[in-house]
Amino acid sequence: MSEDHQNDDEREAVVEGVGKAQASRRRFLQVLGAATATAATSQADAAPWEEYFQQHYKRLTDEDKRAIFARLEAEVQDKYGVTVRINDPKPIDGVEFAYALNLQACVGCRRCEYACAQENNTSRSPEMHYIRVLQMDKGSLDVERSNTTYEGAVPTPEHYYQPVQCHQCRDAPCVRACPVNATWAEPDGIVVVDYNWCIGCRYCEAACPYFARRFNYEEPTVRPSEINPDQGYLSNRLRPRGVMEKCTYCLHRTRKGLMPACLEACPTGSRKFGNLLDPNSEVRQVIETKRVYILHEDAGTNPRFYYYFG
């Protein structure tokens, strides 16, 4: 408690300044000063305060979560007129998710990108896609010379295609870079973001060797008719401005046993997803029997995403 009283003046100044700039964004001040707590109870509308002083995901009780999910659902109802359901599926015991992608089969059609955007409620304007498909010169592994803005008929005879998304690294540099623990690896290997804890410093974006993290520079816009109502708290719920987001292997789907949206959309069957700990799963079969290639293996992040040939 002594810590609480130590810098009250300074903390209040910070709260005030941040509140002016971006009231709903700076939630890292989880240690409440007595003065600010009193202010909170005197507010007629408690919702912004609840949001403002919301605890880190890992500290939330089930009851807290119920209240938060109800609040978020009501906010979406108010803003978009859409009834959504926010849930929080837990990691499954004995499951470690991994992805494998067949570089020989991918034709670079970008169906996965758009299916992902639709599933994960990512901003349509400015347009945000978690997946980036690199058009690579045949015979080259140089991603620096790849093209991400190709258009027209695919596949061309001179190129192959390498979609890149979050690799859910075992030693994730983004997790190490986060100064406030707003991002972490779940027991099933998925690196998640607590959007209500993120301060938007973008250190994780700079740390990621795969350029897989996305930042909401502007208020994300999704048409109400296009909102996916099945939302995970740690995955595809609607994000506010000023927070990071990323691919979560569609954890709101995959933790219920479904395949990720990008895999379902792929017309070529290039994408393979499954439980790395299950010796019969497709990803394990790929790793055990095919030539597997890890992008930026030299970065030492030990990803759970494998490219393979054939």
């Binding site: 810590e3 903390r11 990108e113 347009e127 061309t156 379902e264």
Partner: protein, 174 residues
């Protein structure tokens, strides 16, 4: 401010590895193969057209029927009856003379494409959707490949996201 960060980091186990999941995996998915016959527009051949019209096994130029079929599959597949059973057109034919359903068309393909077939049975090649844990649906070869003319065709990619285009301009600008 530093104090705040320190207390937050200590409480949330900053940079400490997450506890590993327990090692017993749940059972693997049951794979079902999506039947092909409902997707073939003219099936069943024997009930629709070949009820009274027996197939003519003679190799010839097709002029009246099946003119849309261009046979360009390798150098050995030169005539219909290589894969189609001529006295029962609802069935496919294996090299040993036995008959299989169109739903088991992959067995016909496997006779030459053994490695691909092995990969397909393991889920490495081909489209498997549904669930990674419960029931998965796997497409047979001909769901994606035209067996008469299996060459890969081009189609249009969806446009790149505007953000990506902006990023490229930004990089050039810098």
């Amino acid at each position: 401010m530093i104090l705040v960060f320190v207390s937050a980091s200590a409480a949330l186990g900053c940079h400490r590895a997450e506890p590993r999941a327990r090692r017993t995996p749940p059972p693997s998915a049951t794979v079902t193969i999506v039947p092909r016959t409902p997707s073939i527009a003219t099936y069943s051949c024997m009930q629709r057209c070949h009820t009274r019209l027996p197939a003519n096994p003679a190799q010839r130029e097709l002029v009246d029927f099946h003119t849309d079929k261009r046979l360009a599959h390798g150098t050995t597949l030169t005539w219909c009856t290589f894969c189609h059973q001529d006295d029962n057109l609802d069935r496919l034919r294996l090299i040993d003379g036995s008959q299989v359903s169109f739903d088991d068309g992959h067995r016909v393909c496997s006779q030459c494409h053994a490695e691909r077939y092995r990969d397909w049975t393991r889920g490495i090649h081909g489209v498997t959707t549904g669930s990674w844990r419960d029931v998965a649906q796997r497409r047979s070869c001909t769901a994606c490949h035209n067996p008469h003319d299996p060459h890969r065709t081009q189609f249009n990619a969806l446009p790149p996201p505007s953000r990506e285009r902006g990023r490229e301009q930004e990089e050039h600008h810098e």
